[in-house]
């Protein structure tokens, strides 16, 4: 099953904007205070530039598959090491995000349900995702993306009466020092790595660069708008206290007696993104293992990987224990995607050129 550009962009957008439903918007607020939205703009611009470099170098390799590039750059042993590192990194990220999603959902709703109850549903989604494959998730996210974006826009519009324009002042927030830190927030677009994984599935592989750019720009617009709306709704520095900015935006909706309690909208968005993000992440973990160790059927390892996921969930009893690792993975992933991958593609391109 091949996917077109539109479907690939929608998957990427859903994966990237899944972070706006977690704590991550606060990264911009912590860096730049009242100028958080400017920080988000700068981070998006840096992500676009970094992706342009990455795609340019990747194009030079002439490979359709990331793992072929890695193999050509570092050899077979190098592929094992690099692939294993990538597998572990994605696995840890999946586990941490899984813990955050399951614990937070039991805070927002299902408050009396034990966290393993929520976990069971998510694990069931992972199993289904693993068996049906990434193609099915792409098709689902293609529809879900429109619903998610629509609901986000509705929330933003309903919040207009609560916008306090003076919240964006002082206009430069924490000043130049805050803006200089914007490169750290480029990790918001880490999921662009998965675009390289689905290149073999693209109908028109030559439009890979356009797909990536559109993904970053479209999701960037949503990220910037969410940051701006969050700043307009809650003044700095009080807004740094909120664990879930998007939930705060939703709960602020209060138009007459009809449009209230928009947390239900947040919940729908949360469930959509949670299932799509975790399902996709699980598929890419399987894909990484399959490509690294050249196994013929990735479905065979689903029970084993699932067992590892459930076992490694145990140390993270609550969100506070998962958050430091989540923060670390945010940066580790960013360095891997935007630095290590660029270097790898450059080496691969260089070797290919030399071989020619």
């Amino acid at each position: 099953m091949k996917v077109n550009e539109k479907e690939a962009v929608r998957l990427m957008v859903v994966l990237i904007i899944s972070k706006v439903f977690l704590w991550d918007i606060n990264r911009f607020v912590y860096s730049s205070g009242t100028a958080a939205w400017i920080n988000a703009v700068l981070s998006t611009v840096i992500a676009v530039l970094a992706f342009l470099i990455l795609s340019w170098v990747y194009k030079k390799t002439d490979y359709d598959d990331v793992f072929s590039c890695i193999k050509s750059a570092y050899g077979k042993t190098g592929l094992y090491i690099f692939g294993t590192a990538l597998f572990i990194m994605q696995l840890v990220n999946l586990i941490v995000v899984l813990r955050i999603y399951s614990n937070t959902i039991s805070t927002i709703t299902l408050t009396s349900a034990p966290s393993f109850f929520v976990l069971i549903f998510i694990l069931a989604t992972l199993i289904a995702s693993g068996y049906f494959g990434i193609e099915s998730i792409i098709k689902i996210s293609s529809v879900s993306c429109i619903v998610i974006v629509l609901f986000i826009v509705v929330l933003f519009l309903f919040d207009i009466p609560h916008y306090e324009l003076t919240n964006i002042f002082p206009i430069l927030g924490n000043g130049v020092s805050g803006f200089l830190n914007c490169y750290k927030n480029v990790g918001f677009y880490n999921e662009i790595l998965f675009l390289f994984f689905i290149i073999p599935l693209l109908k028109d592989r030559k439009r890979f660069k356009n797909t990536g750019l559109k993904s970053i720009i479209y999701s960037g617009i949503i990220v910037i708008l969410t940051t701006l709306v969050f700043t307009l709704t809650a003044p700095y520095p009080v807004n740094t206290q909120f664990y879930l900015p998007m939930l705060e935006i939703s709960s602020a909706v209060n138009i007459n007696v009809i449009f209230q309690r928009a947390e239900s909208v947040f919940l729908i968005l949360w469930i959509f993104t949670c299932f799509i993000y975790l399902g996709s992440a699980f598929c890419f973990v399987l894909y990484t293992f399959e490509k690294t160790f050249q196994i013929s059927d990735s479905k065979a390892i689903i029970p084993a990987v699932l067992f590892i996921v459930v076992t490694l969930l145990a140390p993270f009893e609550n969100i506070n224990e998962a958050n430091p690792i989540y923060g670390f993975m945010f940066y580790a992933f960013a360095i891997t995607v935007f630095c290590v991958m660029t270097i790898t593609f450059a080496i691969s391109a260089f070797r290919r050129k030399r071989a020619k």
């Binding site: 003076t166 206009i171 924490n174 003044p235 520095p237 009080v238 209230q260």
Partner: protein
């Protein structure tokens, strides 16, 4: 296998979705709290009053729902408990009533003046942390005892107490009632650029607390002004609005009269349509309806040692009732002048009270001042809170009379008598 999976899923749905098994609580298993009152209890405890909606009385209509004055109100069932904390009180309530206490319909959180003076930060943060309590929940201050106030709520025109509280605080309908929500307190309580103003409630006919005497004579406004507590109404519902409660952060800083909320609304640009009275030298009273269709303009100057602000308010007025005055081309201009003069004087008095006396930034001038700084560090270094009492203000009111009602403006009863 392809047939087994759909059959299995369908079976799961059939058995799980159509049953009436008592897995969780039903709607009628909950006791819905409409209002929470926080008073000082004995020793270090709090006295928490929970007002539950009585669905039996509400559902039964007004006849069964409302009783005459003195008999109390069946629509609200009050439960008072002494506890170390607000949420601990819920446990005690749960142990003593047959239903589960539910906070998802709380409309009003009341703090006694004693509690409010000491600061309400921990309570506000506690309620904000609780997901079931809405950010739009109204927060108000009670003169003496919140318990007494909640017991005195006996709405006569409304059976549903939740709707009564909602309508009472509806911004579009009230002029003299300050409205502050849980979200307002949480967002601005710690802010250095704005302070919150809440409603000041009490019980009619009750001995007033000592702090009423703090209402100074110089804060005397127009003919509509009443001294705090001298509520000029006679009603069977003994729960009344006494005035305005000014907060400095999370601490109660002082009280104000009902009409002060009108001035606040004019200054923040939210007085959509209010009635205002002007008294002339002949002691005849002209009532005009003021409409504020645009936000006031704030020009803040922070370049000097003392901050300065110029506030321009633009209003449109409709004549509602007029004394023995001939309204022609010249006299309505005179009326406009009087209106501008009276409003400017009263707004200046209000500003003096909040800036120089109470030192609270109720109208959020600090928010406008923030825009004069480029970075947060510069704003912090300026120390607005410290400089705020030195604020020099100038208010310009531009009020134009645009309508004279359905009666001919040239009609003059006095002339006909002559």
């Amino acid at each position: 296998m392809k047939r087994v999976i759909p059959f299995f899923l369908a079976s799961v749905m059939i058995f799980s979705l159509c049953g009436c098994a008592k897995i969780n609580y039903e709607v009628d298993d909950y006791a819905y709290v409409i209002a929470v009152g926080v008073d000082k209890g004995d020793s270090d405890n709090l006295k928490i009053t929970l007002s539950f909606a009585n669905p039996n009385a509400i559902g039964g209509g007004s006849e069964s729902g409302s009783k005459s004055a003195g008999e109390g109100n069946d629509n609200l069932i009050n439960f008072t408990v002494e506890s170390s904390g607000i949420f601990n009180a819920l446990n005690v309530a749960n142990d003593n009533i047959s239903k589960m206490v539910n906070l998802s319909h709380v409309k009003l959180i009341l703090f006694s003046k004693e509690i409010a003076v000491g600061g309400i930060k921990e309570y506000i943060e506690g309620f904000t942390r609780e997901l079931s309590v809405r950010p739009a929940t109204i927060v108000a201050v009670c003169d003496n005892s919140c318990e007494d106030y909640l017991k005195s709520i006996t709405p006569k025109l409304e059976v549903n107490p939740e709707k009564y509280i909602n309508d009472l605080f509806d911004k579009n309908k009230t002029t003299f009632l300050a409205k502050a929500t849980l979200s307002d307190f949480f967002l601005w309580g710690r802010s250095k650029s704005k302070d919150v103003t809440a409603a000041y409630l009490g019980t009619q006919g009750e001995a007033k607390s000592n702090r009423y005497s703090e209402d100074k004579n110089e804060y005397s406004y127009s003919v509509d002004d009443n001294k705090t507590g001298d509520v000029p109404i006679s009603t069977e519902n003994k729960s009344v609005t006494l005035g305005t409660a000014f907060f400095d952060g999370y601490h109660l800083a002082g009280m104000g009269t009902n009409i002060e909320n009108l001035y606040m609304q004019l200054l923040i640009g939210e007085a959509s349509e209010v009635v205002y009275s002007i008294k002339d030298s002949k002691k005849s009273i002209t009532e005009v309806s003021l409409s504020q269709n645009e936000k006031p303009r704030y020009e803040v100057d922070v370049s000097g040692a003392k901050p300065k602000v110029k506030i321009k308010i633009r209003l449109e007025a409709d004549v509602m009732s007029i004394g023995d005055i001939r309204v022609d081309k010249n006299t309505y201009k005179e009326l406009e002048k009087k209106l501008k003069k009276a409003l400017t004087k009263e707004l200046n008095t209000y500003m003096y009270k909040i800036v120089k006396d109470l030192k609270v930034d109720s109208i959020g001038i600090g928010n406008y001042a923030k825009s004069r700084f480029l970075t947060w560090q510069e704003w912090e270094e300026y120390d607005w809170k410290k400089k705020y009492p030195d604020l020099q203000y100038k208010i310009e009111v531009d009020a134009n009379i645009v309508k004279f009602g359905l009666l001919d403006k040239s009609l003059n009863i006095g002339e006909r008598r002559d």
